[in-house]
């Protein structure tokens, strides 16, 4: 069980902001922090990892205290069992894929675990390559494997897919979920992408200006309650075409483009780039094998 209650004054471009994080995560749970950049998501992860010290509060992981301002206790990052996946991967450029992963293993001769991780991330053939030779997606997989090699109590993913293109993103999201299913490590995931957070996590915390303003299941958070649709998904408006009386919205869901007809009322206030929910109430969708 993870209990965190921390306060920290952060200095940002818009002046200072008081970050206040008070939440718990059950063992093996996958939770997400969602919010615009600058809302304090990454700072929460950095405080858990010990890379940033809270001004006050406590951090407790599986009954172990990692930080407690009242007792003036602060465990160094080296002694906190976290797996941190950085936005810029932070792979060690002078080590091969294999060496990067082995560097994180506590038992230096735990070759079978390194091999298992290499297989899980599908990079067994590239194990002797330097990170320079890898694509963004491959680098991120190595970073993930390296974080898991430490057998962490908590896995911290800091916008791990933000530098990848859409296709790679979707593939990696799936792989991260597979890996999560396999190891069941308690995971805190941070992103500013709605569809990603919606798809990935069991529970979501919405962060605005350093405060958790809402939390709950993805459906509760993102889908309005008055909409009891039979099927619904979240997408992004790519184009709006006015065709006579009709508005045709082109909505991107994952990597599919869907054309949806909207009335003038519905289309009012919608712009290209908005995230929208597309839902159907009256008709059964047709399902065919693809």
């Amino acid at each position: 069980m993870v209990h965190i209650n921390c306060k920290k004054r952060l200095l940002s471009a818009h002046g200072s902001m008081d970050l206040s994080a008070d939440f718990s995560v059950s063992p093996g749970e996958f939770v997400s922090f969602f919010g615009p950049s600058g809302s304090g998501k990454t700072s929460i992860l950095r405080m858990i990892a010990g890379l940033m010290n809270p001004d006050e509060g406590f951090i407790e992981i599986d009954g172990e205290t990692w930080f407690d301002s009242l007792k003036k206790f602060n465990l160094v990052p080296q002694k906190r069992r976290v797996g941190f996946v950085f936005q810029d991967y932070a792979l060690f450029p002078h080590m091969t894929v294999r060496e990067n992963i082995r560097f994180a293993c506590e038992a230096k001769n735990d070759f079978s675990f390194v091999d298992e991780l290499l297989r899980v991330i599908h990079l067994k053939e590239l194990e002797n390559e330097l990170p320079l030779k890898l694509s963004g997606g491959q680098k991120q997989r190595v970073a993930l494997a390296r974080a898991l090699a430490r057998k962490p109590k908590i896995l911290l993913l800091d916008e791990p897919f933000s530098a990848l293109d859409m296709e790679m993103r979707i593939q990696l999201q799936r792989e991260v979920l597979d890996i999560y299913e396999r190891f069941k490590t308690t995971t805190v995931f941070v992103s500013h992408d709605v569809s990603e957070v919606f798809k990935m996590s069991k529970r979501i915390f919405i962060l605005e200006d350093g405060k958790i303003v809402r939390s709950g299941l993805p459906q509760e958070i993102f889908i309005e309650n008055n909409l009891s649709g039979k099927f619904k998904f979240i997408g992004k408006i790519v184009d709006i075409v006015k065709d006579g009386f009709l508005n045709i919205l082109v909505v991107q869901v994952d990597n599919n483009l869907i054309r949806v007809v909207a009335t003038d009322d519905e289309a009012r206030g919608l712009n290209i780039g908005n995230n929208v929910i597309v839902a159907s109430k009256a008709f059964n969708p047709i399902i065919m094998k693809y």
């Binding site: 990892a49 890379l51 950085f86 060690f92 320079l132």
Partner: protein
């Protein structure tokens, strides 16, 4: 002019020169560079990562030799280590070490004088590494020392190489400091640069020419190798 050059060349070959200024110069450069590497890495690490204000004071001190005339440094070293009083007296009476007009004095002077070249290159090497590299290493359970040796230093080889070669080359080219503190004792403190000055003063141009040519060739080779290997190292990353 051409006749003069020819004369210098042939007389240079015919004469047997004392090679000790050359060997002494390189011995000094090796020792100085080794000491600077040992001092430079921890000092540069501290300057690059500390948040304490005193670092600006230390940085200024380290860089002072860049702007001071070498004679100023040499003069104060001479005064400071004078066997008549203070530290010099203490060293001589307790450890029987005389710093002034000795090889030890040359080493101390050169280390101080070349310190900015070593420290500044290593410092910028540290500062150019993304901070996530050391943070990743910390979260993987590695201590600061392990991180320094296994993650940071291997990824800043070009800066280390620049620091080493610059200090080495700079020590070879020193004149003012070593003349002030070392003097001109053959075989002990008579370095190539001082030997050249002495030979010119004695109107012995052939010898001056010989020493100068050796210095020019070796400096060229050292710098040339630096640029070639630096390119190779930076291609890896």
């Amino acid at each position: 002019m051409l006749r003069q050059m020819k004369f210098l060349f042939y007389s240079g070959i015919n004469m047997i020169y004392d090679l000790s200024p050359i060997t002494l110069t390189f011995k000094l450069a090796f020792i100085t560079t080794a000491i600077l590497l040992l001092i430079g890495i921890p000092l540069a690490y501290w300057i690059a990562f500390t948040r304490r204000k005193i670092k600006y004071f230390v940085e200024t001190l380290v860089s002072m030799p860049l702007i001071l005339p070498p004679t100023v440094l040499g003069f104060y070293l001479l005064v400071f280590f004078s066997p008549r009083h203070g530290l010099g007296k203490f060293l001589e009476s307790v450890f029987d070490i005389r710093v002034v007009f000795s090889f030890t004095g040359l080493v101390i002077g050169s280390v101080i004088f070349s310190l900015p070249f070593m420290v500044n290159s290593i410092k910028s090497g540290f500062q150019n590494l993304p901070s996530s590299l050391s943070e990743a290493s910390y979260t993987l359970g590695k201590s600061r020392f392990q991180t320094l040796c296994q993650v940071l230093l291997p990824n800043m080889k070009p800066s280390l190489l620049t620091g080493i070669v610059m200090s080495f080359a700079h020590t070879i080219g020193e004149f003012g400091v070593v003349l002030m503190i070392g003097g001109n004792i053959p075989g002990q403190t008579r370095l190539a640069s001082i030997a050249i000055y002495g030979e010119v003063e004695a109107l012995n141009y052939a010898a001056a020419n010989f020493y100068s040519l050796v210095l020019i060739s070796i400096s060229f080779i050292v710098l040339f190798m630096l640029y070639i290997s630096n390119k190779r190292v930076s291609q890896v990353y």
